[in-house]
Symmetry: C2
């Protein structure tokens, strides 16, 4: 791409982008004189027409798709609310698709959507997503904005939080609270950007405090919900259990608390816990749960704002719109005392 957009041509000629678009498309609605002016400038600036302008001109469905792995997680439900708030204000419909952490579903959904049902997509990839052709293919035709779980391989806008710093801060907090054997808990076999960053932060905090991250301290829970309970129980029942846990997914909270109750492990005396969670109920747990609280609603709003901007400007590539919105560590009873 030469960097010359329809928007730029419109600005230079003091015409609307719609007029430029129609002139380049040889529309009968535009006078020959105007067409000539537009074509002259386009040649002069070496304007390369977007091969997929046909798709973008179809930008009339006034609908955006949102692909999320699940909604039974307060981060995603809050982010959806943020996306919808912006979309609604601009007269856009939002279609929500659940991928259920399946790459196959993500592929099928994007393929179906490329048919023109929506004007663009906001997505958080599945834990299985380790190939990106389907996203690239979609993005050749329609704009994509990633939020939270991103693909570095795709050159578009990414709305994230400071996951590395979150992993670092959670670990540092536990070390300062007296922990010396900290484990980080995650969901199974995944390639997620966010989990990698949190683990990097975890390792860095340990290293900065002269502690070593052993392999055994980076733990991936098995797939089934019931299994994660048994998995955590085994860890806590082992000869050398952790004295601190960073849980990277909110749904692990229940199992950590249940195992502790069953084994008579006192939180926070024997085990300190920090969890990535946006649930209101963290305040009424006993003890209340220390959390990394992510700016879910704000991330959703930002993602929708960037996508709608790209639609207005008829642009597929928006990497300069990426942004990082920091999370907050909220210290509560599960890590203090």
């Amino acid at each position: 791409m030469s960097g010359i957009t329809i928007k730029l041509l419109a600005e230079k000629l003091n015409l609307s982008t719609a007029t430029i678009s129609k002139a380049l498309g040889d529309s009968h609605e535009i006078s020959d004189a105007t067409k000539q002016r537009v074509l002259n400038l386009a040649r002069e600036l070496n304007y390369v027409p977007n091969a997929y302008a046909g798709s973008l001109r179809r930008n009339v469905s006034k609908t955006i798709a949102v692909l999320v792995p699940e909604v039974a997680d307060s981060f995603f439900s809050l982010a959806l609310n943020g996306i919808e708030e912006v979309a609604l204000a601009k007269g856009y419909h939002t279609l929500i698709y659940l991928t259920h952490e399946k790459l196959e579903r993500e592929q099928a959904i994007l393929k179906a959507l490329a048919g023109g049902r929506v004007d663009g997509a906001i997505m958080s990839v599945t834990a299985e997503t380790n190939i990106y052709d389907h996203i690239q293919e979609f993005n050749r035709q329609l704009p994509v904005v990633f939020f939270d779980r991103v693909c570095e391989e795709i050159d578009t806008a990414k709305i994230t939080t400071d996951d590395y710093q979150c992993g670092y801060n959670a670990t540092q907090h536990l070390i300062e609270a007296g922990c010396r054997k900290i484990a980080i808990l995650s969901i199974p076999n995944n390639n997620l950007s966010i989990i990698c960053e949190r683990i990097k932060g975890f390792k860095a905090a340990l290293a900065d405090n002269g502690l070593n991250a052993e392999d055994g301290d980076i733990l991936y829970c098995p797939e089934e919900p019931g299994d994660s309970y048994n998995f955590i129980k085994e860890i806590m029942f082992s000869g050398n259990p952790p004295d601190g846990i960073v849980a990277t997914v909110e749904k692990l909270t229940t199992d950590i608390y249940l195992v502790s109750q069953q084994l008579g492990i006192n939180i926070p005396k024997q085990l300190k816990v920090v969890c990535f969670s946006n649930q209101a109920s963290v305040n009424i747990l006993t003890p209340s749960l220390t959390t990394i609280t992510q700016p879910a609603f704000e991330m959703g709003k930002a993602a929708a704002t960037v996508l709608l901007k790209s639609l207005r400007n008829n642009e597929l590539i928006m990497k300069e719109e990426s942004m990082v919105i920091p999370s907050i560590l909220m210290a509560r009873g599960s890590s203090v005392g």
Copy 2:
């Protein structure tokens, strides 16, 4: 409608519904002999062709819409999983629309969908929905299945749980646990079928035990999340606070527990609580929360099964498919002791 359907014609002639449909539509794919047989029987039985068969024949989007008020509620997120499991198995896409409890949004979404984007809809109405023209209008063209929050005014399939019995059982449980002044808490100004039924059950249980439901015992929390905390605080701070609460919405749990903590009210000694909730975290609250656990996943599966059946059979009216799937009262620490 005469009650004679394409399905019935198909059964009587031992042909597929597709063949009947094509024969009635004078398709070139069907032999003249077969067309004659179909037309003869149709006349004999006084078959009235569905005026909207044109819409139903457009049943090719292989997409169903689901309208829910929100996803930050475990009932709806579990129900969505049930719907998607069935839809996926049958090769259907599911589009999720959030109404955010706004009638205006529900109207706009159904209007947009009637344009042909989907083959049918599964819906749980908003708390504001007190007129039904928009649903009737949609249902003239495309099939609708209600789940949980239904409209009695619309003559179609309704997948519900036994809300009256749930209200009754929750109240009876609190009375047996020793409560004598029980309040039922709900969300603001609503016309919801489910809440009406639960309140009816609440009143019946009180009456059966010789207790009166005073006006003040049926309480509607204000709209904003922060407000319900203050609302509950005022109730508990009053001269005559309840000794038992039936909370009809899971998100009220956090505020009830927080207020009790702040005012030093012991649950369950001074206040017993039963809440409609499907959250896993009810087990790790102190005390653990007694719940009415709804068959959310099963209700979602049933709703999708009925809708897909109606699409297969080209039928708009499916009231004979309505079903009631019972909920379960799970007694835990918040109401015992």
